[in-house]
Amino acid sequence: MKNKATIIFLMIVGLFTVSFPLFAHHGNAAYATGTKISVKGTVTEWFWANPHCFLKLDAKDENGEVQHWVVEASNPPDMTRQGWTKTSFKAGDEVVVSMMIPKNGAPGIGRFVSGPNSIVLNGQPFPPGVPNGAQPAPKP
């Protein structure tokens, strides 16, 4: 009989192995999965719905011009499994997000990449807790 610590550990392992499952109809076929860029900006909208949730944010480029970005995740039940919610982000939140970009070069669009510290929300790593449990993730 496994003890509680082992269960929580397994859930955390499960969290990262199931992050962003490529279980949409198309997987990640539209994205250049080898790419990874980081964008820092201010949230303008968080859309929590099928087929995929997406986050809109405004970033400033080197000239101080505003760039509009939209970054997609997966469907709400997939995201709930990883501790995300309908209210995880609100307009005005400061975020730094890691994403992969589309193969066709479409500007201002990305898909979240998974893993620790791939999203920083108001200075804190996101998501903060363990999806199927009550306690926050233990410190590494």
Partner: protein, 323 residues
Amino acid sequence: MSKRLVVSASAMLALVTLAPILCAQTDQPPGVAEQLKQRKWNNSPPVKAEYDARKKARPAPRRDLWGLWDGTAEGGIQANGPIEYPANPGGSASKAGERPADDPLLGEPGHFGQPDERGIPHHPPYTALGEEALRANKPGTGIRAVPPGELNDPVDICDPQGFPRMELYELRVVELAQTKNQVLFLNQFYDNWRVIWTDGRELPKDPEPRWNGYSVGKWVDDYTFAVDTVGMDERTWLDNVGRPHSSDLHVQEVFHRADYDTLELSVKIEDPKMYAQPWMALNKYVLHRLPDNFDVEEFFCSPSETAAYNKVIGKPVTAPPPK
């Protein structure tokens, strides 16, 4: 002396009878128990390891399918095709981390982008008509994956999955509810249900097609429930990789209650127009029982939400690259 024996025997009998009921609320996966303490709505199924950590099996009730059954943990999402017949190609493109559109050898034997399924270890036994119908379906995953702009999967425009695709793709949480004359299959993905009649009626001859077909079921023994389904609409795909079916399709399911917490689902596909022999799409696929108070998220395919997504992301990322 004999009176004491009778009392003891009664007490033992009571304990043995009540034990499954007494244990029912406490033998949940521990993370699920914690989650249910925190919130009563929109719960999330646990990972497989949590089910594996359960105490030993409890006996199956007789002629009883009732419960919330989790198909996610053992791989029910089936993005690359049904568990028994995935359409993953062999060769380098089958390594984790490689995706169809990133495959540098796209279209080469053994890699993604094939017109047919010759490049996978085993595929369903297509007839000539079945091969032709397969090629008309353009999926986004598996060895025949097409570029995103060329997909023609009907579920992408929120058409119903239909049956049996609801078991061969996105098999997540399903509630089975038994009434006097039906078993109701309440499916989380796309919030759809189907009716299995248990009143002894015959299957219809030459029926008008329905997305979910026409199903009748019966107990073949106390722990095994067999279902026959005919009359499924040809517009549906069998799975997420575009396997076809005709209106002659006959699906046989077997639900086997292996123990209190385990349901094994088998699905046989029989369609002589499309497939030279019947084939098993699922073979004793395991669904785990969730607690009775486990509320799941909705998962409707909403045309307005799909349109909003396509406007912002779907269409821009699948457009041809600018010259």
